[in-house]
Amino acid sequence: MRAVGVNETAARYCGAAVDRMKVLVYTLSGGAAGLAACLFIARRNTAKADVGAGIELEVITACVLGGVSLSGGRGGMAGVMAAVVLLHEVRQFAAWRWQNEVVILFVLGGLLAVSVMASNFFRRRG
């Protein structure tokens, strides 16, 4: 999976089953979305098609903060899970301190910007 993410063409020439890998990844992603939907319905007593709109900000923040590279090829579950917990803590703190949904959004967006900048910084130095 990582090889395909880093350089798809090189992976293909190395003999990796690139297309199969991509189908697998997207299938897993869809499956995860379905599982998340079931958990959401159990929690919130409702099912709407557009309820997840806007949640990408938090998801991408969690991934980048957890070490997943935006250009592909790097990342792992442990980092992302830790980042999810961290993000939850930041959100709870921001909610308590400012009591305003718009400010919370601003804080999470700021965290995303910081994570992306940090990941770029470390990539260049490494």
Binding site: F40, T46, L86, E89, R97, E101, F122
Partner: protein, 356 residues
Amino acid sequence: MKRINRRAFAAGVVAVVVGLAGGCDTKAPTKGAKPSPPGGAVSGDVGGATAKKVRVAMLPKKKGVPYFTSCAKGAEEAAKELGVELVYDGPTDGSPEKAASMIERWTAQGFDVIAVSPNDPAVLAPAMKAARAKGVHVITWDADGEADSREFMVNQATSNDIGFALVDTMVKDLGGKEKAGGDVAIVTASLTAANQNEWMGFMKERLKEYPGLKLVEVKPSNEDQRVAFQATKDLMGAYPNLKGVWGISSVSFPAAAEAVKQAGKAGQVFVTGLSTPNDMKPAVKEGTVASVILWNTVDLGYLTIQAANAVARGELKAGATAIKAGRLGEKKVEGDKVMLGDILVFTKENIDGFDF
């Protein structure tokens, strides 16, 4: 080199977050806290009810809608008067799921009262019940929630009065009982909102007395002006015999009037409904709309906080028939509904006298 720096950065972020989290007090923010009121212990958990500040969280269906903002104004007035700590916050997109998360958060933060205007009673009920289970008082205002999810509801006027007034006003606009005939339609808020649904129930009942009017469709607008505008356009297109449109949400009414005006049908298709006078002043002045129905929203917000304070202090309990509501005097309590009182009708003659 890269590895060490990465770890150091991650450790730094975690340290900052833990440090900030460690500094928080679950009862009240310690940073920038106002000086305690004279003779009161703000941070004490054990203290007489009269000494501790009552903390109320107020949740509108959708934050940013002028109707709710005017309620918030009244609420802040009451909060200042009573020395209540008020947090007014809500989802800017009206999403009941986000509202449910906010209620859960406030429960964890130890608020005394949560006042909710539910956009979807079924979605909010679990969070509201969980809050009640933790000892938080929950009341509803403007729109009702499920019966066992709240102690009281602060109601603007009886749904009966509102529904009947809406139909009677439309009939008057259409020329009276004899002349009124044709298709009529309703543009509501969201299809799950309890208040609009109750009003529509009474509207349908009242419409039975005017057999010349046929209710052809009910369209939702989800408190979105663009959706309401489009819905009205669609209605005018689909029903050539359309004579009247009700916009029964403060957002759908001005949008419906604008749609009728832009279609050049002002005077052929009559629009009436519920909205704030400020939002409807242009349409009323131009003549697109003859009457606007509402109630004093500032007073509704004011009464909500008065009721919240009374519930928190144990002054408002089941079986009460009235509460003292500050500058509003004594307000009737009918069952579990705290009644604000009468509806207001705004027309060209009196609309300038109101500013909300």
